[in-house]
């Protein structure tokens, strides 16, 4: 019996190591979480600021180092290895933005960086804003009941 072309394509599609990837992402994402928590505790202890302010400082720190490591050229290898462990936290957002900025720097400040920096991460901002609006709306409605 003749097989259809798409059946042959499906048959020869390699299996991705979903379980291994998930474990690596779980551990590396967890490490980022621990680092974040240490930073929050450290900032609120050493700088004598509230947890809310320390959280902002922690985010800025993680963003700074993601951008720095991306610019130094080795963070993409880390992301490639850790996968969602580094992509889902704020490190992934910073990495995506920074890599696009680096890529288009040679095309000029406005036409290059300005217009292309959010090429990958723009969607995160748009849908982040939209979804937070929807959820705050739900929360408001629930609060009124």
């Amino acid at each position: 019996m003749k097989k259809s072309y798409q059946e042959i394509v499906q048959k020869n599609y390699p299996k991705e190591n979903v379980l291994t990837n998930a474990i690596i992402a779980f551990i590396s994402g967890g490490i980022i979480g621990i680092i974040g928590q240490i930073l929050i505790d450290g900032y609120s202890y050493w700088l004598d600021i509230s947890t809310k302010e320390a959280t902002v400082c922690m985010l800025v720190t993680l963003i700074f180092f993601s951008c720095l490591f991306t610019s130094l050229g080795f963070f993409d290898k880390w992301v490639n290895f850790c996968k969602c462990g580094l992509i889902i936290p704020i490190t992934g957002f910073a990495h995506a933005t920074m890599s696009a900025a680096l890529e288009y720097r040679k095309e000029g400040l406005v036409t290059g960086i300005g217009m292309n920096m959010l090429k990958l991460s723009g969607a995160v901002i748009i849908f982040g804003v939209v979804s937070s609006f929807i959820f705050s709306l739900i929360r408001m409605v629930v609060g009124l009941l």
């Binding site: 097989k3 798409q6 394509v9 991705e16 993409d76 890599s99 680096l102 890529e103």
Partner: protein, 329 residues
């Protein structure tokens, strides 16, 4: 459609590559290898342009000719408006035909050169093609420094430029015939599995070539496809035997030959217009001259992928042009 050529030869070839290719198993066969991806230029697009000029200059130097001796240049690459080819050709004040056939540009260029020479319109043609890993990544995929995970079926665009001098002056490598392919829609939508999008076009062209020339697959010592990669190669083998009842035994794919698949981060293998000719003009021609292969069918494959059309949820069409190469002793 298959065209038979009488006395058309590939007189000289030139291969210029980037660092990944020179570290691969065929590294010693290339004419010029660059150590980084900028080739001393400011950006990757200009680097690709430079590599084309270098390939043309090497082929002219090897054949002791100047650009004035070449009647027409035929070439193209992977980037928008085939910019590197157009910019490179502005250096040579000679007739130029720019072509786009994605990763099968090399074989289309050879076929067109052979047609023009066979028809008696011109005497000498130089056909070239190029691709550049990071320039292609930037245009078709993600920023280079972005490390998002890639699927196993993803191919790695080769960096390099090749040029070949085609004429009717007798030489060892003869272009015996050429098959102009048709656009085939394999119904694939997966941009990370180009091998699957292209294998059907390769199968279509191989079977048409065999039908037109009334040959069997055993006629050839080697069938060489363009850049299907590990999985595309498996798909082609299985589809050829299932659909056309042809067993591909003496078969290989340049996508799996260019790199060391175990130790280089290239996933399913090499791709790009430079991939097929880089392997053919260097290693395969060398083996042909040594007598290992006498008749080779080069079936370069091109996925005619357009990011906008993919966003429109359309399938990826592909095309494949084949040339039959023979050694004249």
């Amino acid at each position: 459609m298959t065209i038979k050529f009488n006395d058309i030869y590939i007189n000289e070839t030139a291969t210029v590559t980037g660092p990944y290719e020179s570290k691969g198993p065929l590294g010693k066969y290339f004419d010029l290898c660059h150590k980084d991806l900028y080739f001393g230029e400011k950006n990757w697009e200009q680097a690709e342009e430079k590599s084309i000029k270098e390939a043309i200059d090497i082929v002219l130097k090897k054949s002791k000719l100047t650009e004035k001796d070449i009647d027409v240049f035929i070439g193209g690459d992977l980037l928008n408006q085939i910019a590197p080819s157009n910019y490179a050709m502005s250096k040579y004040n000679q007739s130029f035909i720019g072509i786009y056939a994605a990763c099968t540009t090399s074989t289309l260029g050879l076929i067109l050169s052979a047609i023009l020479i066979q028809g008696g319109f011109i005497k000498k043609a130089v056909t070239f093609t190029s691709s550049h890993n990071t320039a292609a990544e930037k245009q078709y995929r993600y920023p280079v420094e972005y490390g998002g995970p890639k699927r196993k079926t993803t191919t790695f665009t080769s960096t390099g430029a090749v040029a070949a001098l085609v004429s009717n002056e007798q030489n060892t490598i003869k272009i015996e015939s050429g098959t102009i392919g048709t656009v085939v829609d394999s119904l694939s939508k997966d941009v990370y599995n180009m091998g699957a999008a292209m294998a059907k076009a390769a199968a279509d062209t191989i079977s048409k070539h065999l039908n037109d020339t009334k040959r069997t697959i055993d006629y050839y010592d080697l069938i060489l496809t363009g850049d299907l990669g590990i999985y595309g190669k498996k798909i082609l083998k299985e589809y050829m035997s299932s659909e056309y009842n042809i067993n591909l035994e003496k078969y290989n794919d340049t996508g799996v030959m260019l790199y060391d698949l175990k130790n280089q981060p290239v996933y399913a293998g090499a791709s790009g217009p430079a991939c097929a000719p880089l392997v053919t003009y260097s290693y395969i021609f060398d083996e042909m001259k040594k007598g290992k292969y006498k008749k080779v069918l080069l079936v370069a494959t091109g996925a005619l992928m357009n990011p906008t059309m993919v966003n429109h949820k359309l399938t990826i069409p592909s095309i494949s042009h084949a040339i039959s190469l023979e050694v004249i002793s």
